[in-house]
């Protein structure tokens, strides 16, 4: 066990999976990020976010494969290579670029197993980045995971800390279904305790990052940190907040969320995405459809507004859901006088 950044944790998962299984390859734009090769030159930066540092030296250019700038071919080729028996980890710098390769993912990779009558497996892992906070504007900052969650056949992973990032990525690579891993680009330098040895975190198991009795917050990715902060702050005033990080949106650990809502009766969902057809809406609908009797207040969703993401920091900060918005939301569900409570 030692302290590692999210970037290091992801790097370690990739390295260990590549050591364990020679069929694991990395493919994407600028994934080498400079000089490399089997001779062991040290200059390679390891890609746009430095996540592949050192991998080219250890595994060579045939397993860490720089590509032409053509996302559609990266995804299509990853699908084809997976059908040939490899386990490709395909990287896309920004989830925003998925637009130019979405067909290969949602019409192809996600459906091969189904279309082949169950005889094909497509163990592709797609790693990409999400999130605002870099001043990168409307086309480099989005959090488009709900779109992928909607596609049958795709699994979707959203790590919120280095420990989860490593265990979930290893699971993604070993998984026989295609998995999209959404890494928040503001979190690569976040630190946490991470075991040195390989380990797996199963999909569909939520993590309770805070235990509480009064309010449930379900949050995703970087929003988990904000929710934790709010929970810690409110704990000092005697309010007990439970924070749930589902970690995977598909499969989704519905039971954990429902158990918590049945206990607290109050739900806040925090999601950096735009609000329409979002995970926030999905979780709210889950609670309303499956735990209506237990709800003591309307569900409150804390999301980005229904606008593109402005680049300038002043506007961008206003766009991203904030701790104070979450706190207000928690107070709103706490202060709500349910009609039944009033009459009863």
């Amino acid at each position: 066990m030692s302290n590692k950044t999210m970037r290091e944790a992801i790097n370690e998962a990739l390295r260990q999976e590549m050591q364990r299984d020679p069929s694991v390859i990395i493919i994407g734009e600028d994934v080498v990020g400079g000089r490399g090769g089997t001779s062991g030159a040290e200059e390679a930066s390891g890609g746009a976010f430095g996540v592949h540092a050192g991998l080219i030296q250890e595994f060579g250019r045939e397993r860490v494969i720089d590509t032409p700038i053509t996302e559609s071919a990266i995804m299509g080729a990853a699908g084809g290579a997976a059908l040939s028996g490899l386990r490709p980890v395909a990287e896309l710098m920004f989830v925003d670029f998925m637009g130019v390769c979405f067909d290969q993912i949602y019409n192809q990779i996600a459906k091969f197993r189904y279309m082949f009558g169950g005889r094909a497996k497509t163990p592709v892992t797609i790693r990409t980045t999400i999130g605002a906070g870099f001043g990168a504007g409307p086309q480099h900052s989005q959090s488009l995971y709900s779109m992928f969650t909607a596609v049958p056949g795709l699994k979707c992973v959203l790590p919120s800390n280095p420990y989860d990032a490593k265990g979930l990525l290893a699971q993604a690579i070993r998984d026989d279904d295609p998995v999209v891993v959404f890494e928040h680009k503001m979190m690569y330098t976040d630190e946490g305790e991470v075991p040195d040895e390989p380990y797996l975190i199963p999909f569909g198991e939520a993590n309770f990052t805070r235990r509480g009795e009064d309010v449930t917050i379900v949050a995703f990715s970087r929003m988990v940190n904000l929710a934790n902060q709010v929970a810690d702050k409110m704990a000092k005033t005697g309010i007990s907040v439970e924070v749930i990080d589902p970690r995977t949106t598909s499969p989704l650990d519905e039971d954990s969320i429902l158990d918590s809502v049945e206990k607290t009766g109050r739900l806040v969902v925090v999601d950096e995405s735009n609000p329409y057809c979002s995970m926030a809406s999905e979780i709210a609908s889950l609670a309303v459809c499956e735990a209506f009797d237990y709800l003591r207040a309307p569900v409150v969703k804390v999301t980005a507004p229904h606008t593109p993401i402005p680049a300038t920091p002043a506007l961008e900060q206003a766009y991203i859901p904030s701790a104070s918005q979450i706190e207000t939301a928690v107070n709103t569900v706490l202060d709500f006088d349910s009609p039944s409570a009033a009459t009863g």
Partner: protein, 414 residues
């Protein structure tokens, strides 16, 4: 023993610490390439895509049939615009380093592309620039202060704080906004050109991508569309040898020049010395005339070199020799035009020094004015309300509600 297929992973000719090697670059002599009439049949001029149109020779003298015979004033204006682009870039690069703007991208070494091509189009022609085409915005008089305010995202930002630095737009001057997603403007330019033809106008469109971006599907889709509809469009590839850390071989440059990408579709290609302003102007003018006369699309490859880092987030010393630009056989476009003007007796080193100083002052003055409209840290700041505007033609109710809620929370009026 069978002969199994082996994966070819392209390798650049030289890596950091090694001697730069441009032996892969096929050059033609200045003046050596034939200049066909603008209505020549595509099949008869395929060699233009494989050779290299050059006008300025090693002694800075204009040679051959592609010499556009530009007058003295035009040449001096081209030089001024190229130097201005370079000085502007230099200043903006430095203010980024000082933390005054969040991001910047230089066009160092590629100035002849935007200036030479920009001069060859008519003001009514619609240009769809790539992010290293700031020269197009400069030569179409977007205004340095306006451009700086965009980079600062301040109260006078033409994009209202929504776009990253350098993602300019200039609707009035027929300049499309920069897009963060590569090659997406190619089909849009083709569509604009089709629109012009449908309306019976003689305006044409042009777009630019880098060598790396030619791998994008949109590049190929756009060529197909342009060929099918004979769209009046000039499509350009700026081959500056690098796409971030991958060299042009990763885009398929090892096999055939990028200019040849359209040959299979019957689109003529021209490979041109991108650091030779005269050749850049002449070939672009040829393609623009051809398009305007109903001759359809042309694909131009401008061979140049990315003199600086990919962006302020990149460190090229990790992947290419430090002195690679100095060894680039097509030299420095600014210096080449300057030497040509000196040769013609129109210019001198002293005048060049004076010009550079003047333009540095111009840029410095513009910067002072730009920061008076606010910076990242000093007011006036942009209104948060701006985030909600222009999402739709009319702001729908739900957005108004979201806006008011956010403003309330921030303790601002709504």
């Amino acid at each position: 023993m069978t002969n199994n297929p082996k994966l070819h992973i392209p390798q650049p000719a030289a890596r950091p610490g090694e001697v730069p090697d441009f032996s892969y670059l096929d050059l033609s002599d200045a003046g050596a390439v034939f200049r066909p009439p603008t209505n020549a049949r595509a099949a008869e001029i395929e060699n233009l895509a494989l050779e290299m149109v050059r006008v300025l020779d090693d002694d800075h003298v204009a040679q051959g049939p592609w010499n556009p015979d530009l007058d003295k004033d035009t040449l001096l204006e081209a030089l001024r615009l190229m130097v201005l682009t370079r000085v502007y870039d230099d200043r903006m690069q430095r203010v980024q380093r000082q933390g005054k703007i969040t991001f910047y991208m230089q066009a160092l070494g590629e100035e002849a592309v935007s200036i030479g091509q920009g001069l060859a189009f008519e003001p009514g022609d619609m240009l769809f620039p790539a992010y290293r085409n700031q020269g197009l915005y400069i030569m179409r008089e977007t205004g340095l202060v306006e451009m700086m305010c965009q980079c600062l995202s301040n109260s006078r930002d033409m994009c209202k704080g929504r776009q990253m630095p350098i993602f300019y737009q200039n609707k009035k001057k027929n300049l499309f906004t920069i897009s963060g997603n590569l090659a997406t403007q190619y089909p849009q330019a083709v569509g604009w050109a089709m629109g012009s033809a449908i309306k019976g106008e003689d305006h044409i469109a042009a777009s630019w991508v880098g060598d790396g971006s030619t791998a994008e599907a949109d590049f190929h889709y756009a060529l197909t569309f342009a060929a099918v509809y004979n769209a009046p469009v000039v499509l350009n590839v700026i081959n500056n040898q690098w796409a971030i850390s991958t060299f042009q071989g990763f885009a398929g440059g090892e096999r055939r020049p990028f200019a040849a990408r359209g040959l299979g579709l019957g689109i003529p290609g021209i490979r041109v010395d991108g650091n030779d302003l005269l050749a850049v102007y002449a070939t672009t003018r040829w393609a623009a005339d051809r398009a305007r006369q109903g001759g359809g699309p042309t694909l131009i490859e401008l061979v140049t070199y990315r003199g600086g880092a990919h962006s302020t987030s990149d460190d090229p010393t990790r992947y290419r020799p430090k002195d690679e630009w100095e060894a680039f056989p097509l030299g420095d476009p600014v210096n080449r035009l300057k030497q040509h003007l000196i040769k013609l007796g129109h210019w001198s080193d002293e005048q060049q020094t004076k010009l550079e100083e003047e333009l540095r002052n111009t840029v410095n003055e513009a910067w002072k004015e730009a920061v008076s409209f606010g910076t990242l840290t000093e007011p006036p700041f942009l209104d948060v309300e701006l985030m909600f505007e222009d999402v739709f033609a009319e702001m729908p109710e739900h957005l108004k509600l979201q806006r008011n809620k956010l403003l309330d929370l921030r303790g601002e009026k709504s």
